[in-house]
């Protein structure tokens, strides 16, 4: 009998159940079938990975970084969505503001998402600083709407956007996924415009302990990579999880900025 792997993920939305049920079904006849366990937050998921309670964790970028820091780099990433290899943060302002570039954020009221959202809180500040913006000139307005979920719900970014539209903030930092969800502004006609976009970085990744049996994780990864967007049912699951076209090999260099940001901003690596 093929050994059943356990995959851990965070239940940030009811739709997650459909994603993992679909993935489980797709993997059922493979050489690496799995069952899944859902956690209420990424802190618990990383704990479970570290303790070996789950074999594979579907981690956000911050969860990946924390897992690495907590295990003395004793984890490895198996795969990520295509969108995770080229993730970025978009700074938006009210339409007609004429603000462009990172310097336009200096001295402004900046709406950020939940404090544990790498894309809507941690990395925006990191990249602004890297671009030479004095963070002390910025008034940060935080929307900690989905703490523990690492910004997965997108709720805190919508709150930040609404603050900009309402004139309560000058600029909002949102993930590229949320930016695309509003059609790069097209779905909010006359409401917002892009100020600046950070360089690409990596986001979510399937993560295992380095001690995981390589042949089993390789079989699992092979089957994941074989998901076919031409198959309507596989496409449905991929779309629901945010995959555009394919699963991708991990872009590990894309985590460097977050490792640096976590260190410089003093973000707790253990939670």
């Amino acid at each position: 009998m093929t050994e059943l792997l356990t995959l851990g993920a965070v239940a940030y939305s009811p739709a997650v159940v459909g994603v993992w049920e679909g993935m489980k079904e797709y993997f059922a006849d493979s050489d690496a079938p799995f069952d899944f366990v859902l956690y209420s937050n990424y802190g618990r998921l990383v704990d479970a990975l570290r303790k070996g309670e789950v074999d594979i964790a579907w981690n956000t970028n911050l969860a990946y970084v924390r897992a690495m820091l907590q295990t003395d780099n004793g984890c490895r990433a198996l795969a990520m969505r295509d969108i995770d290899t080229v993730y970025s943060t978009v700074f938006v302002s009210a339409a007609g503001s004429g603000r462009t570039g990172p310097g336009a954020v200096a001295g402004r009221r900046l709406a950020l998402g939940s404090a544990d959202s790498a894309h809507a809180a941690i990395l925006p500040l990191h990249y602004l600083q890297q671009a030479g913006v004095d963070l002390d000139t910025i008034t940060v307005i935080r929307f900690n709407s989905d703490l523990g979920k690492h910004g997965d719900t997108g709720r805190s970014e919508i709150d930040a956007l609404e603050a900009v539209i309402a004139g309560e903030a000058d600029v909002a930092a949102i993930g590229i996924s949320t930016w695309e969800k509003i059609g790069e502004g097209d779905f909010l006609p006359g409401a917002v415009e892009k100020v600046w976009q950070t360089p690409d970085y990596s986001h979510c990744a399937f993560t295992v302990l380095s001690s995981s049996p390589p042949e089993l994780t390789a079989a699992w990864t092979r089957h994941l990579m074989a998901m076919n967007p031409s198959d309507p049912e596989q496409r449905r699951i991929m779309t629901l999880e945010g995959v555009k076209d394919h699963w991708a090999t991990p872009a590990l260099d894309g985590y460097q900025s977050l490792f640096t940001a976590v260190e410089r901003q003093g973000i707790d690596p253990t939670w």
């Binding site: 939305s13 739709a15 159940v17 049912e233």
Partner: protein, 331 residues
Amino acid sequence: MILDLIRAVDTLAAGERHTVAVANDSERELVRRWSEATGNTLVPESVSAKSERTATIIRGRLRDPATVLGAEKMPGTRLWIYTNFTCNLACDYCCVGSGPKVDPRELGAERILPIVRDAAAWGVQELYLTGGEPFLLPYLGSMVVDCAEHLPVVILTNGMLFRGAGLKQLQAMPRDRVAMQISIDSPTSLIHDRHRGLGSWQRAIAGVATAKSEGFRVRVAATVGGEDGVDAVELQTFFDELSIDRADQIIRPVAREGASLEGVLLTTDTLIPEVTVTAQGVYWHPVAATDPDALVTSQIEPISEALDKVRDLFAEQWHTSATKVSAFTCA
């Protein structure tokens, strides 16, 4: 509105719905574009309440019906043809009210053959010939030989006419392309004969034996009513004893159609279509082949247009009630 929509849809499970008010057509168009761009599904205007100025969004893409139902259940995979409505029996629950004295409503071989040829070209994969009793037709044997050149054929019969001319017709048919589906409602004659007529059970059993001895694949179909108290397990055991493969044993409830005033109420809203041709037109399902509400079109030829129409109507039905449609097994 879009930000509210994002908030609401993000809290839904896959397949759940959310309805928003839309002020005008341009807002509806905005919701449509947003749904498309974000991998969600806007319920088509024709089935949502446009007059109420709302738009309904389903979280995620709909499950592919071929995955949920199985490719073999997709509309147009099978074509049903009522060759005639006359029958040597007058079963009290017949879903189309067939009997010895009804209007025959024969389609005739000269119409059936082009329909079958065109259906095969469209993509139909299996042909079901039913009635009435097809073996009452003197040209059945030669017609089935011709049909079988285009599609594998299943003939639904009471199995009582496999002697004399009927046996010769049977013997003319190609074994590798033709199967018999014989109706047997109970493991003993009592219930079967109560509905179908005295002695019909014994002759049906003999028909199974004849068809098998002639080298045909034989399927058996039972129509069971709640009051008859037929035990499904007992029936299955009986079919096993007749050496009928489990996959070829069909047990279904009585439908409230035709001569039957009782049984399962079926509507086109909740029934997965099985394209059915009668002399009157193309119907949604063989169990409702005399039901005016189930008439898709009275224009039979070209059959490809009717098949297209049913496929499109089913796509809309799937949107409307993906979780509600059901299959009624006739074969």
